[in-house]
């Protein structure tokens, strides 16, 4: 079942939460809506579910216009950020709720409900807790109960609002892997909202990055990571070093570096910024190689990498990631003056 969102707009008072957003989610796809808080991603998710009404635009679920449909008729599964489990009901009753509130004609009998609930609880590996109350569960367990409850009504699409937001780092990583396996198993069209880029890249087939109510970029995780379309995406999807300079006549200049930049066709120079990820920079003791001179102030081991923190002559911080092997050979130490050269620069003209 596919989801299509066309020209959605939503304003709260004077605040434009969603500004003309369109995208499609293919059947069986797992898509992440990624963005900082307040970028409109949760509002968009709630509009797809029917919990919020858009000011204009359409939502199509498997090709059918669902814009005027009530939440109850849309057949979506929704997992709330804080789970929203019914606190006075056991795990079993929580999962069974969606089945027991059906009109008598469509309601499965008791034995069938019980069988389906236990099957779902086995799927989320919580069957042994079926008679517990939500308050007796850990965060990760609550999250999985919420998921089982959403799946119990056999939704056409699954929507998850910050599914791992309230969990600590270890549980989050486990649950993420588990959810990816689950998605591969049941292939349910899913959209999840997150502000954590690592989570989005790790889990999603496609990432939609939002900022101030608009889509900045929509693409596969590797596309978004390697070819960011805007400075915002560049900044948002990881650590980045920014060099200010100018661009003119097919060349861009940032301090000592000059690189080809065919997009600058004018001969008049315009302000530009060059971005390089920490691993896209090299350092050398050779100060005459045309690099940017900077003083090494800090060396931090970070797993397979070593992170160098440098200050250039204008006191701007530059972060460089080196393979640990290289650092073992070179033995850079704090206080040294080094030359920094980018292996690759992503350039954007400044507005």
């Amino acid at each position: 079942m596919s989801i299509e969102v066309r020209n959605i707009r939503k304003t709260f008072g004077t605040f434009a939460a969603v500004r003309d957003v369109s995208f499609t989610v293919g059947s069986g796809e797992l898509v992440a809506l990624l963005g900082p808080s307040g970028c409109g991603k949760t509002t968009l998710l709630r509009i797809i579910a029917g919990l919020e009404v858009q000011d204009s635009g359409t939502v199509l679920l498997s090709g059918e216009d669902a814009s005027t449909q009530d939440v109850r008729a849309r057949g979506v599964g929704f997992v709330f950020q804080h789970y929203a489990l019914f606190r006075h009901m056991t795990v079993f009753d929580n999962v069974a709720f969606g089945l027991t509130v059906r009109p008598r004609s469509r309601r499965p009998d008791k034995a069938e409900i019980s069988r389906r609930v236990h099957d779902l609880l086995k799927l989320v590996q919580l069957d042994y807790l079926h008679d517990r109350y939500p308050s007796q569960l850990s965060g990760g367990q609550r999250q999985r109960v919420a998921l089982a409850r959403a799946l119990a009504v056999e939704p056409k699409v699954l929507l998850l609002d910050e599914p791992f937001g309230a969990l600590d780092a270890n549980v989050r990583r486990d649950l993420r892997r588990w959810l990816r396996r689950l998605h591969e198993e049941i292939k349910l069209t899913s959209v999840f909202v997150t502000h954590d880029q690592e989570e989005a890249f790790d889990l999603a087939d496609r990432v939609i990055i939002m900022n101030r109510g608009q889509i900045e970029q929509d693409g596969r995780p590797d596309e978004v990571a390697d070819q960011p379309k805007s400075p915002f995406v560049m900044n948002f999807v990881g650590n980045v070093n920014r060099f200010v300079g100018t661009a003119a006549a097919g060349r861009a200049t940032f301090g000592p570096f000059t690189v080809d930049y065919p997009d600058a066709v004018d001969s008049t120079s315009r302000p530009a910024a060059g971005y390089a990820r920490p691993h896209e920079l090299e350092v050398s003791r050779n100060l005459t190689n045309g690099g940017l001179p900077a003083r090494l102030v800090h060396v931090t081991p970070a797993g397979a990498l070593v992170r160098l923190e440098l200050l250039d002559d204008e006191s701007r911080t530059i972060v460089v990631d080196l393979p640990r092997v290289q650092q073992e050979q070179e033995q850079f130490h704090a206080g040294e003056r080094l030359s920094v050269i980018p292996r690759r620069l992503t350039i954007f003209l400044e507005e």
């Binding site: 929704f78 709330f80 019914f86 006075h88 517990r132 850990s138 009504v153």
Partner: protein
């Protein structure tokens, strides 16, 4: 070690060096108990000694006079109408205030407290002013032969007025704390409005609701001021139990007055016991037991 020992003592108060000197503690306790004794226990005991002073048969005799029975009946009727109405009003107001954003919300919140702020006598006078013979609607009511003031409807109106904040006041914080998440979850899962209310909202607010109803009922049955203004004190007709006590007392029928008063005192004691039970439940539902460990293979 210091940490664990102070934790062990938590049930019997904080560690000794963290609390006030012994004489302060005992002084405060003695003061509180003395005050309670003087102003609550002694009067309560006095009511029952006076009431039972001439023996059990005199007591039952005083209670079972037609006028007393009629007063009891009227009190029950007034509370029986006022409490359910205020229950509905309280839930509606609580729902509106806790779950929706609308202009004038704060004004509504303040207005709900009005009966707490206004003297009950004024409340009674308002109804006389509206429905009395010289009141705004007086002539119209007289034309149609409807009596409100100095009659049962007036008493019920006054009772509703003075007791209406209780349910709403108890329910609003409970509903605000509950938020809208669970109800939204229920709707996404396909529950209709009634199912959502009965199966999700009500179970979450029931103890708060019950607590509000108890307080509302106690006030409805015990109200004197507002009811005394609109009642006209026609014996056997428009006398509620609190008014009846006063009349008997003014007629120097002390034993009968105290017998009737003992019924109100009993109501207060029953309310307190129920209140304690309800409070225990309210506490229990908000307690979060320790969380289990997470296992995920």
């Amino acid at each position: 070690m210091a940490g664990s020992s102070s934790r062990n003592h938590r049930t019997s108060g904080a560690a000794a060096h963290l609390t006030e000197p012994r004489w302060v503690r005992w002084g405060l306790i003695a003061l509180t108990l003395g005050f309670l004794g003087l102003f609550l226990i002694v009067p309560l005991a006095a009511v029952f000694t006076e009431a039972l002073g001439r023996g059990w048969s005199a007591y039952t005799g005083a209670i079972s006079t037609p006028d007393t029975l009629s007063a009891v009946r009227l009190t029950l009727v007034a509370a029986g109408v006022a409490v359910p109405l205020n229950l509905v009003f309280g839930v509606a107001a609580g729902w509106a205030i806790a779950k929706f954003q609308f202009p004038g919300k704060n004004v509504l919140l303040t207005l709900i407290d009005l009966p707490f702020a206004v003297s009950p006598v004024i409340a009674g006078l308002i109804f006389v002013l509206l429905f009395g013979r010289q009141g705004w609607f007086g002539p119209w009511l007289a034309e149609h032969g409807i009596r409100i003031v100095f009659s049962v409807p007036g008493i019920i109106l006054a009772t509703i007025f003075v007791s209406f904040p209780f349910v709403a006041r108890e329910i609003i914080p409970v509903m605000q704390a509950m938020g809208r998440d669970e109800e939204e979850a229920a709707r996404v899962l396909g529950a209709n409005g009634l199912q959502t209310f009965l199966r999700v909202t009500l179970p979450n607010i029931k103890w708060g609701l019950l607590y509000g109803v108890l307080l509302c009922n106690a006030r409805a049955m015990g109200e004197f001021g507002a009811v005394s203004v609109v009642s006209g004190k026609i014996r056997g007709e428009t006398n509620t139990l609190p008014l009846h006590v006063e009349i008997l007392y003014n007629e120097y029928q002390f034993q009968a007055a105290f017998a009737a008063a003992s019924l109100l005192a009993l109501l207060a004691i029953v309310t307190l016991v129920l209140k304690t039970i309800v409070e225990r439940h309210v506490g229990r539902t908000t307690v979060q037991p320790g969380t289990a460990t997470d296992t995920l293979s």
